[in-house]
Amino acid sequence: MESAPAARIVRGRARGTTTAAATRRLLAARTYGALALAESKRLARAHTAAVHSLSIDAAQGRYLLSAGADTSIQLYDLDACGPAGPGARQIEAVRCVPPGAGHGRFISSVAWYPVDSGMFSTSSFDGTLRIWDASTVAEACQFDLECRIYCQAMSPTGAHALVAAVSESAYIRLGDLRTGAFAQSLLAHQSGGTAVAWSPVAPYVLATGGTDGSLRLWDIRQAGSHLHDFGGSTVAHAGGVAGLLFAADGQRLVSSGARADVRVWHIDSPQSPQFDLPSDTPSEDGGGGGRTSARYGAAGRCELALTTASGGAAGADILFCPNGDTTVSVIDIANGRRLAPLDGHFATTLCAAWRPGRAELYTGGADSNILVWCAPERAAPDEDLAELQADAWSESEPEAE
């Protein structure tokens, strides 16, 4: 991807030779296309198996939750300074639910309560959805769905305390935290659902994706039927929906399929996607679809991450989508272009989380690593690093003429 100097981009805009959209695109490519593994910090290895879910609290953007196949939940304080030493600072987990202490099986998703960082919710293949007190890391509440739960979400609007869970059953279950009981069930996807997302602006609007590839928009007040079926007569994603995300404006919906194809929908025009980005890496499976052929392992889902605007409206339009191989695609959803993929994991990438304000991306993968990505550090490395990075040709190898 092109990476012109920022000054030239701005100069071009000042002269009027580039349009506003082109300028934004160029700057986005410059900023997000050049993300690299952070050299100054890394997360300690706490998980012993694949990391399936990451969540950074929306209130402070400081605490990172991670959970995965080893049934442990780790809580990292991203601002905590590790011991200064040569090389990268290592961030240790400050709190943790040891494996087996909470969920008995594979944790499919973990999410902060979007309004504050006092609690978080997890869903697991052991059939329970649990709410945790973040300060003591103790279980506060539990919903038993008696079937594998693939995803759960709480509304970011804070208007109600409903948690939506999609499972291998055909129903979306809505649990009310105030009462500790299920409030509603929506008959959604016959073969079960994999992804669920609340609208960030409308408190009662919910989008769900199923393993059959259908993508639906719901108003939870109308229990009988859904609002839209995205994709019209055909399914939204052949092979199943893997990830689902509302853009910050609540008007656009980003979905990714089990084959790492990404579509951007406008909620007012559900018939066809705004952008359709087929996977840039050819899939090995022959297109049979279904959960077994998905790239994302047992969960069959991935977590997408969108950049969020810190100040203005612009900026909330770069999507990070785990590709299911070792890479994470970086996609500009404003114009539907792929930037350079991020290649850092050693096994399947499964989830991504954007840290607002710091411009850092965290990704988790089946290699049990959580990687930190940020813009390349411009500061000159200290002497030790410079010495390490220096070439070390011996004198007996003279330069060729």
Partner: protein
């Protein structure tokens, strides 16, 4: 200049355990010299390609090359870290990839990869984060064991070795510093005392014997005896120079300088000093004695210790130590001079000891160089008891170490070995003389016996033949032998031991077995008949000696025609099967079979053999004209021919 691809191919296809240094060097030169990095990228691409070859040896060499360049170039490290998953797949067999044959080289590849990667992580992980993540992946997900690699790394990591040396040097310097401080503290007081003592000694020497230089001056008047030192009458100026004045001496020197004369001063070493201790200078001698005693017994060891310690301290590091060392050396040399002078004066450590015992200032100062007091002569021993010992005096007998001692003969328990020997010799000569006498006259009985006596080889039994007693242990001491028993009273062997010695030992010799040779008649397939028969081979007649080709040797032409000459074995391949065939003639089942199941295996094989010839393994492959340069192990399996496949199908059990 060769291309990087060519160099990589040369390196990786050599098939040796270590890389060929010459192309490796060329590759390094190439990669270092290229500023644009194009050569480096091309090298990396070629190395990845080599890593992907389906041959473990090629991969090992490629990985070694990667390691060499990884340790040198930042750009190359970036390239490698960008492609770590691929490297893992090809070098570790990660991601369910399998390492290619040969198996032992695949194991080596895995080991080498672990060692290399561990070294990279240890050395470079601070600067290249991805190495850490990759290590976690390999260690925890792929479950690769890095223990051996860690051990190997700790053993020969240059950084660690350097650090270890650094620590060692620091420790050594600290140790030296402490040593130096200790020596300084030790010397502070002692040094002064030594110098004072030496000064006192020198003053005493001044008094007793003046310097050679000052000898020519005023001192020769006081010590006229010292003039003997310069006694050479050949010089005409001798009178002048005995003539009392410094001015005269200056004149002499002036004349000498003008006329280019030279003065030879010959000093008689025996007569250089004739200072004797008298009542007049006894006090001086006593002072010298006191001081030199201190010097020799107290100061000298201390100075030696200081010298040894200071010698160990690295003088380059500390100028202070150097200065100290200089002063101590000066002290040592002064001390040596003083001691030498004392020796010349006849005052030394031994005499001092004697002096200490006797009253001070006595008059026997003249014989103080007589170090040893006279010992009264030992009483003469009787001539009989002091017979010369067999071993030369002074030479120690390693077994009986007391043998050389002078006092041993006086010991009543001691019997000299020569006496022992004589005792036995007398007896032996008597016996011998008797035998001689008997042998002189012919004995008819003995003559008869001698005719029938067997001839045997000489052995211990003959050596002790007829002896009633065998002497042993001529050393004179009681010796317990573990087999022969003890000879306490008489130094002879016990009865049973003697009998055992006189017994004949006969070893059993295995009778020679006849070698049954092979028939070695030529067969149709070019081999020789391997049958081993005693007299005649049932197929080829009498067994006769044959040459390499199997033709009978001249003179051994087989008179009898082979039994099966008219009907040679049907296939000729195996004499055993053909003999069976001749013994039991039967029709081939191929001709008579009605169904496929009726076919007999042997018959089918026979047909196949007839069509394709004998199995291919018996054919000798023609030798290749040139040896291939590469020593890569061949992983190619021999390709089965059509005939082999057919045979395999036939032999398969139905």
């Amino acid at each position: 200049m060769p291309l990087p691809e060519e160099l990589v191919a040369e390196l990786t296809t050599a098939g040796r355990d270590t890389l060929d240094p010459q192309p490796l060097r060329a590759l390094k030169v190439l990669c270092r010299g290229d500023r644009s990095g194009r050569a480096l990228r091309a090298t990396f691409a070629a190395l990845l390609e080599a890593l992907g070859k389906r041959h473990a040896q090629v991969r090992v060499a490629a990985l070694q090359t990667v390691h060499e360049l990884f340790c040198r170039s930042h750009e190359f490290r970036l390239l490698v870290t960008g492609q770590l998953p691929l490297v893992f797949r090809l070098a570790f067999g990660a991601y369910h990839a399998r390492l290619p044959p040969p198996a032992q080289h695949a194991a080596r590849l895995r080991r080498l990869a672990a060692e290399c990667y561990y070294a990279w992580v240890e050395r470079y992980s601070a600067a290249y984060q991805r190495l850490v993540y990759g290590f976690r992946y390999l260690r925890f997900v792929e479950q690769i064991d890095f223990k051996d690699a860690a051990r190997a790394y700790r053993h020969n990591d240059p950084e660690r070795v350097r650090r270890r040396r650094q620590i060692h040097a620091d420790n050594k310097r600290e140790c030296m510093r402490r040593l130096l401080v200790a020596i300084k503290a030790d010397m502070a007081d002692m040094y002064r005392r030594i110098v004072a003592s030496l000064d006192a000694l020198e003053q005493c020497f001044e008094i007793l014997m003046p310097d050679i230089a000052s000898m020519f001056g005023e001192s020769n008047r006081e010590w006229p005896r010292a003039e003997h030192a310069a006694a050479d009458g050949a010089y005409p100026y001798e009178d002048d120079f005995e003539g009392d004045d410094d001015d005269d001496l200056d004149e002499v020197f002036a004349v000498m300088a003008a006329n280019r004369h030279a003065i030879n001063v010959d000093i008689d070493p025996d007569r250089v000093l004739e200072t004797e201790e008298t009542d007049a200078n006894a006090a001086v001698f006593d002072a010298i004695r006191d001081h030199i005693k201190l010097c020799v017994h107290v100061y000298r060891p201390r100075v030696d210790v200081w010298l040894a310690k200071l010698g160990r301290i690295d003088c380059d590091a500390d100028t202070d130590a150097e200065r100290l060392l200089e002063s101590v050396r000066g002290l040592s040399s002064r001390m040596a001079v003083a001691e030498a002078k004392c020796r010349d004066l006849g005052v030394d450590a031994f005499s001092m000891r004697h002096r200490q015992g006797g009253p001070a200032g006595n008059s026997d100062g003249g014989d103080d160089d007589n170090d040893f007091e006279d010992v009264p002569d030992m009483p003469e021993r009787s001539q009989a008891s002091t017979r010369r010992l067999p071993s030369a005096p002074g030479k120690r007998n390693p077994v009986f170490s007391l043998l050389g001692e002078r006092g041993i003969v006086a010991d009543p328990t001691y019997v000299p070995p020569s006496v022992l020997r004589d005792r036995h010799a007398d007896r032996a000569t008597a016996q011998y003389a008797e035998e001689r006498a008997q042998a002189a006259k012919p004995n008819p009985v003995e003559e008869r016996l001698r005719e029938s006596a067997p001839v045997v080889s000489y052995g211990p039994d003959l050596m002790y033949w007829g002896q009633r007693e065998i002497s042993a242990n001529t050393s004179g001491l009681e010796i317990r032998h573990r087999f022969l028993g003890s000879a306490r009273d008489e130094p002879i062997l016990s009865e049973t031991a003697r009998r055992n010695l006189q017994m004949r030992t006969v070893y059993y010799q295995e009778p020679e077995r006849p070698v049954i040779r092979a028939c070695r008649a030529p067969l149709r397939d070019g081999r020789l008949c391997p049958r081993r028969d005693l007299v005649r081979c049932p197929l080829h007649g009498a067994v006769v000696p044959r040459d390499e080709q199997g033709n009978p040797q001249p003179g051994y032409e087989s008179s009898e025609p082979p039994a099966d000459k008219g009907t040679p074995p049907a296939t000729g391949a195996e004499p055993r099967t053909s003999s069976v065939a001749t013994a039991e003639p039967r029709t081939s089942s191929v001709a008579t079979a009605e169904t496929l199941a009726d076919l007999q295996c042997e018959d089918l094989e026979e047909l196949v053999d007839r069509k394709f010839g004998p199995p291919a393994r018996q054919r000798r492959a023609p030798a290749k004209p040139t040896r291939p340069r590469s020593s890569l192990a061949s992983i190619r399996k021999p390709r089965a021919s059509g005939a082999d496949r057919l045979r395999q199908i036939i032999r398969r059990p139905k």
